[in-house]
Symmetry: C2
Subunit: 410 residues, 2 copies
């Protein structure tokens, strides 16, 4: 008799974005003439950079000729040309020494973050921020590292670290033991960033407790302030304790192209139950190459073009476009009397709901009165209650229109 | 203290293809003038079909305009346009009724087969053929469904079902209990196919024992004989017991483009320990959408073009090209006195090593004397000892040259 992985049965049924979609469709069905504007889901809207388009056309042409055809990539870890461009531009240029065989190219940061936990034991204690990107938690539930649902959108055995206005949405290390720590900066959903000094405390904690940090830097391209670290490896000693995740999705609009990478330093180790150190780079290589056959050659050539002089200039223009939206949302909502966070180093604006109403109630208010869709903070965890996320990925006219409508109902 | 998944430490160090690469490089270093011909690794060499190239150029152009730009796909399960083409061409056309929401588009059949086991409990007994595609076994070792290595390239707790000349390389169901059964037809590495009657026995066994069959049909496009099933769902009742894996990699040369799909029928169930049935389609949907963000839009449009009238004609021409190589290898080696299997419904030729020498010894003989690389059967499992795999994916001139050289050393 084939049995199921019963950990899946612990998962809470109502996932955030399907519930948002359901409410939106229900409203639209009853109000077919309403023009609903979405500042909800974090998907990009602007076209790819011309340098990327050109590189992908060239790659498609190569696939049409026997002499230049490409089959499986170099062992599934990404072509050397792309890993070298990543090393030089994302790391060497910031004074960080990462080797090409510490870089694993993949189809998405979500894939990497979801799968990385597999090379770790089931006895590790997981720590996440609250609010949190749900994938960090759900994949640990599915693997069996948690207890049952605690009834409040949380699970037993996971350490939740509240991110609040009081701690500037950046928690410090917990008092208790944590073995696998998920950090995301610039943060989705709060838009908060971490300073080098704050991140150093995490690296020190991990060193002291032999913990491993999963550092999700998918939004690093949106950092506008100087002195904010773009990589955890800018912190001394981080290569001993951290895996880093990056993506071309938000950096270069690759949500439909699929290319990302993870960095697993060769000096990074975890332990057997008998405290024998084990290098994680070869363990992840085994996982990656056994379960995966590499990223599309065409996508990899597109990603390489992101690092060309033209490519860099072009993607910067698109990021500036989104960040102008962010500024507009942030500043306009402030003038309406809203308390607003984020939007300076991230494409997310995190606002306090007015008059202390709960975040789903505010969602329904904006949907039904202003015909604007956002994301209720409670969907990201209990500490997100009373907050609301807006994204800067819309068109500027839509953003302006949405803001006027929000004003009218405020 | 972060601990590792100690199941990884059970994995045997020497993986087949790296070892082949090592021996080849060593020989080439000592014999720089030798022109080595590879009939070893199963990667395609012919360019993509013009219809696919045209569709991908068009898709790249769409990504360059705001109005036609595509971000995340429909929930990560593949665009409706592709799932509909799969349903109609791969299933309806063969009289099989599969719905589009039973089809999950992915980046590779290896990815799907490697990950599918995650939705099952760790107490399931796994059965594989011997010889076997190593991914089936390794992913179950990593998950913890096996004991330690049994020292002969096998692992404790796995049921190995020998494929031999006596059973025509198609084993029947085992006498003992098996819960998760991996079958691959047309088979890699033996090139064997299964008749409807033989497959029916497996479906009946799975029904009787409430087992689940993982049916890997990555090579179905190479079937040339009538009456050989292309899909397990051609067998009555199979939708109650089987998941099917398909890929565009070998069908249409997509090894560097990345697109595949898995079929999880809605009526397929496994059980809790308390024998409560659980539908697997929503469980896999949860796994797929939590850990994965969909396939490149460009690759999906390329895959759609495989089903166009022109696309079908063009990919058929390439498959015929490979299968002519297969015929040439099979028939020529027979005239040299070799005992040869496969190569009729699969791009793999499985030959008995001459004079009973072992398969790594034959590998070294061909490499050093004929400068031809193949794959030793023992690398696929103990029952592969005394056999050798050649692939039909080379150029015809190389195949002819390799055959003449093999003749000279035979």
């Amino acid at each position: 008799m084939a049995t199921v992985n019963e950990n899946y049965l612990k998962l809470q049924a109502g996932y955030l974005f399907p519930e948002i979609g359901r409410r939106r469709r229900q409203f639209q069905a009853g109000n077919p003439d309403a023009k609903v504007i979405s500042l909800g889901i974090g998907d990009v809207t602007q076209p790819l950079a011309p340098a990327v388009i050109e590189a992908m056309h060239k790659a498609v042409d190569e696939m049409a000729q026997k002499e230049t055809f490409h089959g499986y990539d170099d062992g599934g870890v990404g072509y050397e040309f792309l890993r070298r461009a990543i090393k030089e531009n994302d790391y060497s240029a910031r004074g960080v020494d990462i080797e090409t065989d510490e870089i694993f190219v993949s189809d998405g940061a979500k894939t990497d973050i979801a799968n990385m936990q597999e090379i770790f034991g089931l006895d590790n204690i997981v720590a996440v921020t609250d609010p949190v990107y749900p994938v960090y938690v759900d994949t640990n539930v599915m693997a069996g590292r948690t207890g049952p649902s605690a009834g409040t959108g949380t699970y037993e055995k996971i350490i939740y670290m509240p991110c609040t206005a009081e701690n500037n949405f950046v928690p410090g290390p917990p008092a208790q033991r944590a073995d696998l720590i998920y950090l995301c900066f610039p943060n989705n959903p709060t838009g908060a960033v971490v300073t080098a000094g704050e991140l150093k405390k995490w690296v020190d904690y991990a060193k002291k407790h032999k913990a491993v940090i999963f550092f999700d830097a998918a939004y690093e391209a949106y950092i506008s302030q100087a002195d904010i670290p773009h990589s955890i490896y800018e912190i001394e000693g981080a290569k001993d304790v951290a895996v880093e995740f990056r993506s071309f999705s938000k950096t270069a609009g690759f949500t439909g192209v699929r290319c990302a990478f993870a960095v697993v330093p060769k000096q990074l180790k975890a332990y057997t139950k008998n405290r024998k150190p084990v290098e994680l780079n070869p363990l992840w290589r085994r996982r990656h190459c056994t379960n995966f056959n590499g990223v599309s050659y065409i996508s990899q050539r597109g990603a390489e073009a992101v690092y060309s002089t033209e490519g860099k200039r072009q993607i910067r223009r698109t990021i500036d476009f989104y960040m102008n939206n962010a500024k507009l949302i942030r500043e306009t909502l402030s003038t309406f009397g809203y308390t607003v966070y984020g939007g300076v180093n991230a494409p997310y604006i995190w606002l306090k709901t007015p008059d202390g109403i709960d975040s789903w109630e505010f969602f329904d208010l904006l949907l039904t009165k202003a015909h604007v869709v956002g994301t209720p903070g409670a969907g990201f965890g209990p500490a997100g209650e009373g907050y609301f996320r807006l994204t800067a990925f819309g068109g500027t006219d839509d953003v302006k229109e949405a803001l006027q409508r929000i004003k009218a109902v405020s």
